[in-house]
């Protein structure tokens, strides 16, 4: 996307910007009201031909109509209201309209056996899908016509109470969105449309988020939350603790959310190594495996190697320490290699771990038989995997695990944030930016790198200990190369060096496959495609860290678009 290219587009489209936006917005609303399919699919609950009751179930089958209506109205508002970087906002909304329309139209076409399903068949007409796609394209073009200007920084300073209120409302909205994302379309196998509904909702959410980001709100909010770090973490944790009380409060989603949490905590640890210190680690999940194995062996499971049963907190601390020692041990010989070579060494370490574990080295891993029967945690007699009731409120099974893991993630976040904004964190970032210059500033790069490996591995070990008890079984199969890559993808996808990014990345990477079960063999293909698209259009990650944004986004902080994307040697490998 060169500057010349986009300015040429702008000149041809400039006079058409506003008319296109208005036409597209109106068409999106019309599409929301039109019938979408010429006949009833399967059991007939695919959007019937005439229903307009789309407000009562925003996250069910007909929800996409409601989403389209919202997007259409927003396009019209954006066309008239005096907002910053209007073109960028309009374009984002256009992508939302186009994606929602395309996902639904494509799904109906495939399931309905041809284009007749979304045009005219047997005397019935249903042009909703076509109109929706046209509307989306029009609005995207309108965005280019108005001119896609760089995101502007808001210089709005607010007093602390107002900032708290804004953060509270925003994080509340995030909680609502997460609950919606988890529950849209219901549990994978129960609803035949779950995958399509989820993708459609994702399109809607992406459009809205991109529009908010385009207008500069996201950047402002992240600056605000960085300013009020402690408050943000507390509110975020509180929001997460409220999740069991929402629609997502059932055993299935508690389990999924707890798994996401474990991987999110691990991803944050990896973020220290990769995002801050810039050390590409491809065998990171091994540390989680070491933590899990240590915890399993001290858990009192029948096949545990050590006969002693330690209380969970003690076992968790030992797991973290052992993993940390391994981290430092692996870190030391890698000090002499950089970049690609470091990645290869860590990859080899990961492989050594899996092979050793597979072959039951020292009798502590139990090889391919795994270590089953790890007892569930319990606190004051309440077992973590049972459901509990507090007064009249009955909470789903697994909720205590969920709470434990939320606390774990919050603690990891605090560790990351405190380290990042400290003498040590600055030294790590300096090493990432220019190792020789960092040494010339008196930073003992060797010690600092080992420290990064050690702390990252400890966090992974801790997460592994929780993992062991949560799942009840520890097998080397859970800690293979693919898991390391997925974790790395979570870090990069979310935005390197950014905390909310790591959580969002982990959530997407572990929810998406769950949600896409519907597409069976195409699942991984769609997943890979989504990753490629995100990296193409947002190389800095979904919620980038301020520094990374400047480095990888297609813009200067000063505002002028820059032609080439700056990809430093470290990023190129990722």
């Amino acid at each position: 996307m060169s500057t010349v290219d986009s300015s040429a587009k702008r000149s041809a489209l400039a006079p058409l910007g506003k008319p296109f936006a208005i036409a597209g917005g109106v068409l999106a609303i019309v599409a929301a009201l039109l019938p979408w399919v010429t006949f009833s699919l399967n059991d007939g609950n695919w959007p019937d031909k005439s229903t307009l009751q789309f407000f009562d179930a925003p996250f069910l089958v007909t929800g996409f109509r409601w989403h389209l209506l919202v997007l259409g109205v927003l396009v019209l508002i954006a066309a008239f209201a005096p907002i910053p970087s209007r073109g960028r906002v309009v374009r984002a909304l256009g992508w939302g309209v186009a994606l929602v329309s395309f996902v639904n139209a494509a799904y109906i076409t495939v399931k309905g056996g041809g284009l007749g399903a979304i045009t005219a068949l047997d005397g019935a007409t249903a042009f909703g899908g076509v109109v929706g796609i046209v509307a989306g394209v029009l609005v995207i073009l309108a965005g280019y016509g108005i001119g896609v200007e760089p995101v502007q920084d808001w210089n709005v300073k607010v007093s602390t109470p107002v900032a708290y209120l804004v953060l509270l409302v925003s994080f509340g909205a995030v909680l609502y969105a997460v609950a919606a994302m988890l529950t849209t379309g219901g549990v994978g196998t129960a609803n035949p449309y779950a995958g399509a509904i989820f993708l459609s909702f994702l399109g809607f959410a992406a459009g809205l988020l991109a529009a908010l980001s385009g207008v500069g709100f996201v950047r402002w909010l992240s600056a605000l939350s960085e300013q009020h770090r402690v408050f943000s973490v507390i509110v975020l944790a509180a929001c997460a603790l409220l999740l069991p009380f929402t629609e997502a409060g059932n055993e299935y989603w508690m389990t999924v959310a707890a798994n996401i949490g474990i991987y999110a905590a691990t991803a944050i640890g990896l973020n220290i190594v990769v995002g801050l210190a810039g050390l590409l680690d491809l065998g990171y999940v091994a540390f989680m495996g070491i933590g899990a194995l240590v915890a399993a062996n001290f858990s009192g499971a029948a096949t545990a190697h050590f006969g002693i049963t330690l209380p969970f907190p003690v076992a968790a601390v030992i797991a973290a320490i052992v993993a940390g020692i391994f981290g430092a041990v692996v870190g030391s010989p890698t000090l002499r290699v950089r970049g690609d070579y470091l990645a290869i060494v860590t990859l080899a370490f990961g492989e050594i771990f899996t092979r050793s574990a597979q072959n039951n080295i020292g009798g502590i891993t139990n090889g391919s038989n795994a270590i089953p029967g790890i007892p569930a945690l319990s606190l004051f007699g309440a077992e973590f995997n049972r459901s509990i009731s507090i007064g009249a409120v009955k909470l789903p099974a697994g909720v205590l695990y969920y709470i434990l893991i939320v606390l774990l993630v919050a603690a990891t976040m605090a560790v990351f944030a405190n380290l990042k904004f400290s003498r040590i964190g600055r030294a790590w970032i300096a090493i990432r930016e220019d190792e020789d210059a960092a040494r010339a500033m008196g930073i003992r790069t060797g010690k600092m790198k080992i420290l990064a490996f050690l702390i990252g591995a400890m966090l992974a070990g801790l997460a592994g200990a929780v993992f062991a008890h949560k799942n009840g079984t520890v097998s080397y199969e859970s800690f293979k190369f693919l898991e390391s890559v997925t974790l790395l993808a979570a870090v990069i996808l979310g935005g390197m060096g950014s905390i909310p990014g790591a959580v969002l990345g982990a959530a997407l990477l572990f929810v998406l496959p769950e949600k896409l079960r519907d597409f069976e063999e195409y699942r991984l293909m769609i997943f890979g495609l989504a990753l490629i698209l995100i990296m193409r259009f947002r190389p800095q990650g979904l919620i980038p860290d301020r520094h990374r944004r400047a480095e990888l986004a297609n813009e200067d902080v000063g505002g002028a678009p820059v032609d080439e994307v700056h990809v430093g040697p470290k990023e190129a490998k990722a």
Binding site: N418, R423, I429, A438, R439, M441, G442, T445, E551
Partner: protein
């Protein structure tokens, strides 16, 4: 005579078959500015790298206040020798203030635990470092740019930021590698004033530079390095007047060259 702040004794550096430095000796007295000039490829930057521990000299040693410097850049900086780079090497994606605070790293004491828990003593140290960094930024003339990313600064400001970052390590000796490369006359003049002010704070300075006029106006003493050897050393007046320096830079006058060519031709004829 007092001990010099920095003393390079007979420093040689050999890369494979290439003798980059051949027994260079240099002394820097406290509160002085020494200039290091020489044609491209004379070994100036190699010499700097030996002074800062990036290279370990093949023979010879470098002493700071009479103590031999360790062969590790981080330890050298800790001991009190700071440097800037010929091609600016800031941390591009860190802010201006953060760049200088990285320079404070070596004078701060917080370890991993303090960094993790952010206790009162941590807060105090952090605040002090921030204040000192702001002070240095205004000393080099970069005010109100704290939160700007260093990559976005104009070229001249980046040079000054690099100097502020080096000063943040509280050095006894500051090594500047071509601090005015690519600057216009006004900026060069400002840099000269800045270096004088740095000397006033008690820091001794070694400067590599191609701009002869700048060097002669700035330095108390100038050393000329040619093909890895120290050619001349002395006050600007002495160095300026030395014919060997003129020859190293401009070559020999035409008549001498003519003479040389004839001599060579005669020698060849004799052999034949």
């Amino acid at each position: 005579m007092s001990t010099p702040v920095l003393e390079a004794r007979d420093v040689s550096m050999v890369f494979g078959g290439l003798k980059a430095l051949k027994g260079v000796t240099l002394t820097l007295d406290e509160g002085k500015i020494v200039g290091l000039i020489g044609p491209n490829g004379a070994g100036k930057t190699t010499f700097f790298n030996c002074l800062t521990g990036l290279y370990t000299p093949t023979t010879g040693q470098v002493l700071l206040k009479g103590n031999v410097l360790p062969g590790d850049p981080a330890k050298v900086t800790d001991a009190g020798v700071a440097r800037t780079f010929q091609n600016i090497r800031l941390f591009p994606s860190m802010t201006v203030l953060e760049n200088v605070m990285v320079g404070r790293h070596v004078r701060m004491k917080q370890g991993p635990l303090a960094s993790l828990f952010h206790g009162p003593s941590y807060q105090k140290g952090e605040r002090a470092a921030r204040e000192r960094s702001r002070e240095l930024l205004s000393f080099v003339g970069l005010n109100n740019l704290d939160d700007e990313l260093s990559r976005n600064l104009p070229y001249g400001d980046q040079r000054r930021l690099e100097i502020a970052r080096a000063l943040a390590t509280d050095p006894a000796v500051l090594l500047l590698d071509e601090p005015t490369a690519g600057m216009n006359p006004q900026e060069t003049e400002a840099t000269q004033q800045l270096i004088f002010r740095i000397r006033e704070t008690g820091v001794s300075v070694v400067v590599i530079e191609h701009d002869i006029k700048f060097i002669f106006g700035l330095c108390d003493s100038v050393s000329v390095l040619v093909q890895g050897e120290l050619l001349v050393e002395g006050s600007p007046e002495v160095v300026r007047a030395d014919p060997r320096v003129v020859e190293a830079y401009l070559g020999k006058p035409p008549e001498e060259v003519q003479h040389d060519v004839e001599a060579a031709a005669a020698a060849e004829e004799e052999q034949a």
